[in-house]
């Protein structure tokens, strides 16, 4: 479970600028900041209106940035974590620090 913050347009943020609403969700577990901040989280009971007038009722979690970009950022994040873990293992098994 992770705490994220949503602004007046329900866009997600990893830090609160003092005006946002905190939300607890497991949807973003394991996700990098760039991924999280490309999403919109509309809580249950709230309604968001898209620029074309279509309305959506929460709870809705959907990207507002191009998902391909978010996916790319998340894959890079996971590659870096894997490399870090492999380096740590190498050290644990006798490598130099």
């Amino acid at each position: 479970m992770k705490t994220i913050y949503i602004d007046s347009e329900f866009r997600c943020h990893v830090t609160d600028d003092g005006t946002m609403t905190a939300v607890e969700t497991s949807f973003f577990d394991g996700k990098c900041d760039a991924f999280i901040e490309g999403y919109r989280f509309v809580p249950e009971g709230k309604t968001w209106t898209r620029s074309d007038g279509a309305t959506f009722t929460g709870e809705m979690i959907a990207p507002w940035k191009d998902y391909a970009e978010l996916d790319s950022a998340q894959r890079e994040y996971e590659r870096e974590r894997l490399a870090d873990a492999e380096n740590a293992l190498a050290i644990l098994y006798g490598g130099a620090l």
Binding site: W48, A54, F56, G58, E59, M60, I61, A62, P63, A68
Partner: protein, 273 residues
């Protein structure tokens, strides 16, 4: 009609299409005609597909004579009986170049309707591309028993036990949790769907209960009873509903999935808009 009048009429016809105003010699006319951009497709009606269609022929399956056709985003008025409306899409298949010659206009026909006795009536249509008829597609993934196999690959259920399961009935998909201990069940499309040119995922259904009812896009259809959603809407409340999910930024291919941990849930239609 004097011969010069006939030649002038030909020149006038060329000028009308080319939007040029200058006079033309006979030697110039073939070149001007060759540079015109006639349409590269035709629209025909009938209850049987044309037997020797040309590439890009749109065949509307109808017993009502096609008096005219309109290709547009917005539905025109129903004032002309036999008028066919071809809804324009913004991408995806099928598609084709509407012009002959060096310039391009790509058309993405989605579905057709026709004015029959003063009202618009849905009509199925196909377009002839690369030697085969291709269905026009309006984004429907499931409708009242039709699984739209050619686009979805069909639908699969996560569970086939006798207590918590999904039934694909002749007119709807029904979720069942009949035992004392319920568990979620899920359905998935068998194929990934390119949702890049759609903005909304919409479901029409009837919920008798609303425990853990959710639908959306996933990157896998092998996660069993617990879909790992990339985008989702969780639905609360009971009764007949039209539920929606914003997918306007979801570019690429995804499976579509629906899950519930209650019953009965009756699912009638799933559509990309």
């Amino acid at each position: 009609m004097a011969l010069t009048d006939k030649l002038t009429a030909i020149g006038d016809a060329i000028r009308l299409q080319s939007e040029k105003t200058g006079k033309l010699t006979l030697d110039q006319m073939p070149g001007e005609i060759a540079n015109l951009q006639p349409l590269n497709f035709k629209v025909v009606g009938g209850t049987a597909a044309p037997s020797n269609p040309k590439e890009n022929t749109i065949w509307v399956d109808t017993s009502t004579a096609v008096s005219e056709w309109v290709y547009s985003d917005h539905q025109p008025d129903a004032s002309i009986n036999g008028r066919v409306w071809i809804k324009s899409g913004s991408g995806g298949d099928p598609n084709f170049d509407a012009l002959k010659g060096k310039n391009w206009i790509f058309l993405y026909p989605r579905f057709t309707k026709q004015v029959v006795n003063g009202v618009w009536v849905d009509k199925t249509a196909k377009v002839y591309l690369s030697g085969a008829w291709k269905d026009l597609w309006d984004g429907t993934l499931y409708d009242s028993g039709n699984q739209y196999d050619s686009f979805t690959g069909g639908w699969l259920a996560s569970s086939d036990d006798t207590v918590n399961y999904v039934a694909f009935q002749s007119d709807k998909i029904q979720f069942f949790n009949t035992g004392g201990t319920t568990m979620p069940v899920a359905i998935y499309t068998k194929k990934k769907i390119d949702v890049s040119n759609f903005n909304t995922l919409q479901i029409e259904w009837n919920l008798s209960r609303d425990k853990d009812v959710k639908f959306g896009l996933t990157n896998s259809n092998t996660t069993g009873n617990a879909p790992s959603f990339t985008a989702s809407t969780t639905v609360t409340g009971t009764g007949s509903k039209v539920s929606t999910l914003d997918i306007s930024s979801a570019t690429g291919e995804f499976y579509v999935s629906v899950t519930a941990n209650c019953s009965p849930i009756e699912l009638f239609k799933i559509k990309l808009i």
